[in-house]
Amino acid sequence: MSEDRKRILELLAEGKINADEAERLIAALAGEGAGPRAERSEAPRRAPKYLRVIVDANDLGHATKVNIRVPMQLLRAGVRLGGLIPRQAREQVNEALQDQGIDIDIGKIKPENLEALIEQLQDFSVDVDDESAKVRVFCE
């Protein structure tokens, strides 16, 4: 038992503080102790290295398994390469995307945007659990 806690209990025994106050003081002490631990748990998060896609399908008794691991580095390199696409080609790609209902200007996807996206992908996970297939997309 710590000295502070012992002192609080002594004060309670002596009647100088009531039970509620003692409880509050002990809770405050516990909060102080938990502070650094909480900070430690928020240590710098590691950016995910791979995008994983796992499919476990079973159509009419035919089992198919797909296991894909794509390095994030490849996504980064792809985005940087995308920056070299000539404007005419970029416009055609944008138009094709818009035809599919995807309103994205690929010219505006910058490496720094991708970094922010990848950082957030650590918490990203898609789980589809169907009768005929299980699909899992996550980052590791």
């Binding site: 089992a63 198919t64 797909v66 296991n67 894909i68 691991r69 580095q73 390199a77 070299l84 000539p86």
Partner: protein, 86 residues
């Protein structure tokens, strides 16, 4: 780091399985030689497309380098395909 080896496995229900270990470091050496020989054409093509040839080549190299760690595995009832870049 650039990938040095690739493993390719293709197994059919009927037919001989294909299992290959490809030494990519040899492929890179060949590509360097080929790139030097074709550099005039690459530069002309880039200039026509209004792209910086050096940036283009550098970014392409980065895409190849980023392939390390790629793993693609498909197991179907009649075939198995595995591509691994190490």
């Amino acid at each position: 780091m650039i990938p040095l080896m690739a493993q390719v496995v293709v197994e059919h229900e009927h037919g001989r399985p294909i299992r290959l270990w490809l030494p990519l470091f040899l492929v890179w050496l060949l590509l360097v030689v080929l790139g030097v020989l074709l550099s005039p054409l690459i530069i002309i093509a880039c200039l026509i497309a209004r792209m910086n040839p050096f940036t283009t080549v550098w970014r392409l190299c980065r895409v190849f380098a980023a392939l390390a760690g790629t793993h693609i595995e498909v197991q179907a009832p009649d075939a198995v395909v595995l591509v691994r870049v190490i």
